[in-house]
Symmetry: D2
Subunit: 278 residues, 4 copies
């Protein structure tokens, strides 16, 4: 038709070839959303498992995705540098991922929050970032995981103080300027809590890997040198995306694990699996 | 932290100032999705009302949006040229819109498909296009509405023939090369159907306008000079977005209306219509 | 060859269709360059004529260019919104324009500076900006012309004071915070100079139009409403680009003129011509 | 001023951090330019030396540039991945480089073509391409050098045949479908020419390195493994950019050399130097 010319205004947004693509999704106003839906503080296990389920849904739909990492109201997804998915068009990738994540969030809500009605549909934003090297990708996930750690340590202390009767303002003042060591010490001495015994999912976030049938061309980036390498101990051929959080109480939750779990290089060609699993 | 440098790889994707921004969302593999969920052919009223409800949800969340137009598995949203929403960042806009649309689709599914369980979460893609002038915007919506008209006329004939016992292949052959006039004639002579009496929503898609309390700075593009301007005859202070489809059987569905309201050519002067008009 | 894949890394940089394209070139470190080549202060007629000749060279090479405006060490070029030049690729346009401008600067240097050897090759940067409407383009050129006016009025006062024996520092202090009126008054009362009698080229910059044989599809943007319309008084079919600066002393220099000279709308279809020409 | 808002339409064009940036310049219509200026065929030593001098000028101006490679009417320049030059703004980089190259071409013309007046100022285009890894950069320069080799071998045969009285058309037919081996053989048997004895500059293009005072953070990419490493044999502290072509007849021209000359790793901290130098 004579109106079709308007299609020409759609400019190319292809991303640089041979760069790793990371999509980060983040909940819009989740401070409000979590409060209105009675999320436990500082971490709501149900919420984290729901987020992980949405992420698995995304990884199942687009088999190019090789790993994902989530914490708080966010999830990041990794495409290998060689991925030709959607011609590497930025908007096509980011909008498709965030769309399925969002619809999944509502779809799986009742499974994880059987007693809490969803009051309104939430939304997330997303962005795609190109990274030239595997080291950048490792640093990216380290950045997100460090964010998880720092926020969680702070929030754990904060809410412990509040639960102990300290006012929010006083709790804030008490924590101001404290180091990580101070906070660990506070938890231990005042609340008899060993921070390292808090669920790994809370401290380190959730990492998902694609189970790869063979050693392939584009492995997820290896862990930084200083990180002790924890090997996956078993294989799960059934699930395309490993790390189901539905498996109950037998040890550390399978989808949770440190980002060093990305270390599933040539030594362990048989399966992608998050670290810490027994 | 020392990892924070990775944030610098997020490049600016701000859109050109003073251009109209149109976001178009489209269902991913909806040929399959509609078949698997038993959508009636060629148009499923429930599906169209669900899509419209999702679009209203989006318009309610972002008050900068001034109108929307939907048909088939797609919806387009218009931001005025002056909108500063999210700094006009392309990804922030497209991902936020498509995210809320997608979560709303699942959220409102049971209301519109009470007897049909949703089998899996669907997803949509989205893109943002800049248009320099109001004429481009009119042509854009004319393009989408022409697409609606052409597909719907064809599909109406096709499924009428199939319902009449013609094989799909024969129906395709029969329609090949026919004009709009031929198809109208076929419907009338063989099926006693006046195409113009088919529900407007099917023929012209769904147009939503924001009810504007006063003449404001950023109106939707005005109609071409030849189009008589018809004012909405009532105001709806309750709904931020006018044209709720929930209001039952009193006349033409309020959210439905031809986009030709924004720009209907000289041939169809009567059909310019906007929501809320009686 | 097996290396050819590297070509794929050249991403599209096409500019939005149907927008006016303005290329602005600016001399790199011309504070230093003009000092080292003994340019007269604040304006060097030879330098301005050389710049204009380079601009005409650019306009002659690319017939899509419809006008240009220059002042100080910069020149801006206008492509109509409909121009398909080089597929509207940003880098192709900006680099081609700046390249010819730069080579022309050296090529024509001896003609304008017969007694001053060029010590080293200078360079310019360039950028292309998209503007959605004619009003933006008018405002763009008004912006550059206002810059010319303000700088020139200030510099005229500053160098007059310095020539009068005032130290540079004292001159700066004397002018600090003065209005345009103050400066006009200073020139008049202390230096017996009527600012409006200073050469137009210095006060208003240099505007070049393409002589258009007929009223064509893409006229230069009309002047802002408040600008008195000065009509071109004669036609010059010979020169593709009007405004040669080589024509000697007969009245105001032909390539110089206020930006309102862009007013070559439908009323004056016979010629593009800058204002002020006799 | 109230016009200043137009500045906001200048959108960011920053290139991805930590990627190698390659700028390629190419002569506009040099088929015509070289013919009109009587360049010798297939290679004009004067033209190649002029191009190299322009490239050295560019490298001298921007010390971030670490190497350059030229052949025919083109030159490519390399910025290390870490370069912060001009905030990595694409247009600023490409236009500045091409501008100085172009003005230098006219400036140095009389030195290299003392007997040939320059008829008009030429122009070049330029583009910047991001490459994620050193391997991409090596492949890029290999691509340009392979282009040099293939064209030169063909042209050498073609013009030898033409000089021998063969018509241009017949020469074309004779060379159609021939391999490199065929062409080497033709030159040897019919024209008694050993292709490898043709000046290196013609066969392999011109490579320029920056002389680096110390082993620095961002070395030029090392040569591909199969390339024998040729060490620079002396140092030139005088020229910031090595490889002056002005040094007369003492052996192979210093700025000429195979791209494998990029091999100036940590072992040779004293100087960057192109291959083939004695
Ligand atoms: N109670 C509770 N809150 C959580 C949990 N996970 C995330 N949140 C809350 C904590 C933060 O207020 C918020 C996430 O921080 P953001 O920086 O993303 O802020 P928010 O989403 O409010 O704003 P945004 O729209 O992203 O700019 O979500 C949880 O498990 N339990
Ligand atoms: N039965 C039925 N089908 C519909 C209705 N609305 C849309 N569809 C179907 C018809 C088309 O096959 C499809 C929309 O066309 P598209 O070009 O968007 O194709 P699809 O979504 O399959 O592929 P895509 O992922 O967008 O490339 O959705 C409806 O109301 N009833
Ligand atoms: N004496 C003299 N100087 C002039 C003339 N035209 C321009 N200039 C000088 C005045 C300014 O110092 C300079 C132009 O200002 P810019 O803001 O472009 O500065 P400059 O080129 O030094 O720096 P840049 O590399 O553009 O950031 O050129 C002239 O006709 N005579
Ligand atoms: N005779 C002669 N010609 C040369 C020499 N170096 C380059 N040329 C010519 C050969 C080619 O026709 C031309 C370079 O090829 P291009 O593909 O860049 O073509 P051209 O510049 O004509 O078109 P363009 O504007 O780049 O698309 O320059 C030389 O040393 N001697
Ligand atoms: O943490 P981010 O990157 O989401 O940072 P922000 O402050 O939320 O900014 P935005 O989402 O607007 O990029
Ligand atoms: O109709 P469109 O624009 O969605 O066209 P398409 O053929 O679906 O292409 P894509 O969605 O990949 O842009
Ligand atoms: O006047 P401009 O736009 O050139 O502004 P600037 O301060 O010189 O900045 P840049 O040339 O780096 O854009
Ligand atoms: O060799 P290139 O990349 O210059 O290729 P081209 O065919 O000249 O195309 P363009 O210069 O228009 O990119
Ligand atoms: Mg954010
Ligand atoms: Mg959030
Ligand atoms: Mg967050
Ligand atoms: Mg599509
Ligand atoms: Mg679809
Ligand atoms: Mg569709
Ligand atoms: Mg500048
Ligand atoms: Mg300057
Ligand atoms: Mg300047
Ligand atoms: Mg080219
Ligand atoms: Mg060329
Ligand atoms: Mg070339």
């Amino acid at each position: 038709s004579r109106f079709q010319y308007v299609k020409k205004f759609e400019l190319s947004d292809a991303l640089l070839p041979d760069t790793y693509l990371v999509a980060r999704l983040d909940g819009h106003r989740f401070t409000k959303f979590t409060a209105e839906h009675g999320f436990t503080k500082p971490n709501d296990e149900r919420g984290l498992l729901l987020m992980a389920e949405c992420a698995r849904q995304v990884m199942s739909e687009w088999s190019d995705l090789v790993m994902a990492f989530g914490q708080s109201d966010e999830f990041s997804f990794l495409l290998p540098a060689s991925s030709p998915l959607y011609g590497r068009r930025s908007a096509k990738l980011s909008t498709s991922f965030v769309s399925l994540f969002s619809s999944s969030f509502v779809f799986f809500w009742p499974k994880h929050f059987p007693d809490t009605p969803l009051l309104y549909p939430p939304n997330f934003d997303a962005r795609i970032v190109s990274y030239p090297s595997a080291q950048h990708v490792r640093d990216y996930f380290s950045w997100r995981q460090a964010d998880c750690h720092i926020n969680n340590l702070y929030n754990t202390c904060f809410w412990a103080l509040v639960a102990d009767g300290v006012s929010k303002q006083d709790a804030q003042v008490a924590l101001k300027g404290t180091t990580s060591g101070d906070k660990n010490e506070l938890l231990f001495s005042r609340f008899d809590t060993n921070y390292n015994e808090i669920p790994q999912r809370f401290r380190k976030g959730t990492t998902l890997f694609r189970a790869r049938p063979t050693a392939v061309a584009a492995p997820p980036p290896p862990p930084p040198p200083e990180t002790p390498l924890r090997q996956p101990s078993r294989q799960d051929g059934a699930a395309a995306v490993d790390g189901s959080g539905d498996k109950g109480g037998r040890g550390p939750p399978v989808e949770s694990g440190p980002i060093s779990a990305t270390a599933t290089g040539g030594e362990t060609p048989t399966a992608g699996r998050q670290a810490g699993e027994t």
